[in-house]
């Protein structure tokens, strides 16, 4: 395989990271926390879609993923009602949701790997064999990011979202429904995580043990170029896909599997991520 082939494959594979990274970035902007269950939403969507099958399955899968995120959003709201304003507690709760969802899948469907073939033929681009599914993944990711871009930059809702992300107190005073926006962000996380899960289902597949590393990959992609901007997540996801493809091509399997985690460690170790954004958080 050639260098350009690795790049191309990396870009296609990275589109899934994009879908996982965008919700991380959105949630971090609006709630300043992490939803560890995003990977679990992906698993739930894939498992349900695989077992139901067909277009109905896809709808059911997305529904299940959004339902999972709705549960998380409800817990978030309850925590807030009970006077918890600690972002690490929200993250911890999402951890519980992730564990519970993965266990539910394990209980219902066992340890099987969820994987479906979509296209049997491959396309060829300048001599490089590429799978149509990969292209579909990339297109989906681009469409999702574009829609988000339009919503956030152009609509009234987007303006409110940006305001809420920058200044919660001020936005509340200005009558912006901050809490509603935060809940909405959790739900968008469910939807995007679900879409990612479906794409994975038709690409490499996944099993009940996947969620946590999916979440982590998404987060790694989200912070590479700065977490506060969902559009940078696009490039972060693609960059991570490329890094992984290059690692697969030129290094060992070990390094390849470590790529997302090393990405994360290196970015965290070199950036001022904590200082600038949530440094005051350790209350």
């Amino acid at each position: 395989m050639t260098f350009s082939e690795f790049i191309l494959r990396g870009v296609l594979a990275g589109s899934i990271y994009v879908l996982l990274a965008v919700p991380m970035s959105l949630l971090f902007s609006t709630v300043r926390t992490i939803d560890f269950a995003v990977g679990a939403y992906a698993l739930v969507a894939a498992a349900v879609a695989a077992s139901v099958g067909g277009v109905l399955g896809i709808a059911a899968g997305l529904g299940a993923a959004v339902a999972g995120s709705a549960a998380m959003a409800l817990i978030f709201l309850l925590l807030k009602r009970f006077g918890c304003h600690n972002h690490i507690i929200y993250a911890l709760a999402s951890f519980g949701v992730a564990t519970a969802l993965a266990s539910a899948v394990l209980w219902q469907y066992g340890t099987q790997s969820f994987v479906r073939d979509s296209f049997s033929q491959f396309w060829s681009l300048a001599g490089i064999r590429i799978s149509p599914q990969g292209v579909l993944n990339l297109v989906t990711a681009l469409v999702a990011v574009t829609i988000l871009y339009v919503v956030i930059q152009r609509s009234q809702l987007g303006r409110m979202m940006r305001a809420a992300a920058v200044n919660v107190m001020g936005s509340e005073l200005a009558g912006i429904p901050v809490e509603l926006i935060q809940v909405g962000t959790y739900l968008v996380g469910g939807l995007l995580g679900g879409i990612a899960g479906l794409l994975i289902l038709f690409t490499a597949g996944l099993d009940y043990s996947a969620p946590l590393s999916l979440t982590l990959s998404g987060f790694a992609a989200a912070i590479v170029f700065g977490i506060d901007n969902p559009f940078r997540a696009l490039f972060g996801g693609l960059a991570m896909g490329v890094a992984e493809a290059l690692a697969a091509g030129y290094t060992s399997g070990m390094v390849t599997s470590m790529v997302p985690f090393l990405f994360l460690l290196i970015v965290l170790g070199t950036s001022r991520f904590g200082d600038a954004t949530v440094a005051g958080d350790r209350t």
């Binding site: 690490i88 951890f95 519980g96 519970a100 394990l106 982590l216 200082d275 958080d281």
Partner: protein
């Protein structure tokens, strides 16, 4: 008398173990569970020190335990070290690793630190999976010898709970020292801690290293007891479970993690299917975060406080169980 005042938790742990001992010793199956429970209790305690005291939401305790476990396996089975000498390496290796990583990641926000521990744990477990020569890769490692004369489940159970008690004792010592107080302060308010002259990153890293060493002890014990290891033996799942146990029991209290461990273990036995374990753990975590963020120990303390004031009695000075009210 002062020992009682300073080491309430240790004495309570000793008493509980002594009370449970006759019942447990009467059934071989329970003895086996007691060893595994001891391993989990050590892991949960390690989370208590890291998260409950230093505020590092750690998700790498399973990985540290597996480093300890493989160290034990290599030293005893392959290199023929005498019994117990491998414990030093099993503690030192994770501690050094944790300290090094801690110095970098504890400068970050708590969330970022948590993610970094998760990533670190994943890197370690991937390494173990791929380092065929050292760890046996996916196949694993078999034939790990017993620890010298310690051979029967009874002896392992005694060892396991002696270790738990020793850790509780050391934990209590720490919390009654300047370093323990420093952890309490920096967890709540880093600026305050710095004004006291506390090097935040250093203190947190030291606590993280201690917690990793304790996880290493758990792994050491596990390896020798079970005698086989595979990458799945002590994976991220174990890290998560230990974290949930500690939080549900009360991570800020010395004995909280042990309470959580015992509770989870008991309730797991009542579950209809083993696969449901994660569902139950996750729900337990969510429920405890909603109703009592300080865990069962915190809830207990509140209830006792309420009962006391309800009876109109003067509240006793806060002492004993909670680590942070060391007076």
């Amino acid at each position: 008398m002062t020992f009682w005042a300073n080491h309430r938790n240790t004495l309570i742990a000793i008493a509980a173990v002594l009370i449970a001992a006759p019942f447990v010793a009467s059934r071989p199956v329970w003895l086996d569970s007691a060893v595994i429970l001891g391993v989990y209790a050590l892991l949960a305690l390690s989370v208590g020190i890291s998260y409950g005291q230093a505020g590092i939401l750690t998700m790498s305790q399973g990985a540290f335990a597996s480093v300890g476990a493989y160290a034990a396996a290599l030293c005893s089975a392959r290199w023929g070290w005498p019994p117990f000498t491998d414990l030093v390496l099993a503690m030192l290796l994770p501690a050094v690793l944790a300290y090094g990583v801690g110095r970098v990641v504890t400068r970050l926000s708590p969330l970022a630190t948590a993610l970094a521990t998760l990533a670190l744990g994943s890197v370690i477990s991937i390494y173990i999976r791929h380092a065929d020569d050292l760890t046996g890769g996916y196949v694993g490692f078999a034939g790990i010898p017993a620890i010298g004369f310690i051979d029967t489940p009874l002896e392992y159970a005694v060892l396991a709970w002696l270790l738990v008690i020793a850790v509780v004792y050391g934990y209590e010592n720490l919390m009654r020292s300047a370093h323990g107080r420093a952890l309490n302060v920096l967890q709540q308010d880093q600026a305050r801690a710095r004004a006291d002259g506390i090097d935040v990153a250093r203190s947190m890293s030291a606590a993280f290293a201690l917690s990793a060493a304790i996880a290493g002890i758990a792994g050491w014990l596990y390896a020798h007891y079970v005698s086989v290891l595979s990458p799945e033996s002590l994976d991220t799942n174990i890290s998560v479970t230990a974290l949930l146990m500690a939080v549900v029991g009360g991570a800020g209290y010395v004995l909280g993690p042990i309470i959580g461990t015992v509770l989870f273990d008991t309730l797991t036995r009542l579950l209809p299917a083993a696969e449901l374990q994660g569902l139950f753990y996750g729900l337990a975590l969510v429920v405890i975060l909603l109703v009592a963020r300080t865990g069962l120990m915190g809830l207990g303390e509140q209830l006792i406080g309420a009962a006391r004031s309800g009876l109109g009695r003067r509240a006793a000075p806060a002492a004993g169980l909670p680590a942070r009210a060391a007076s």
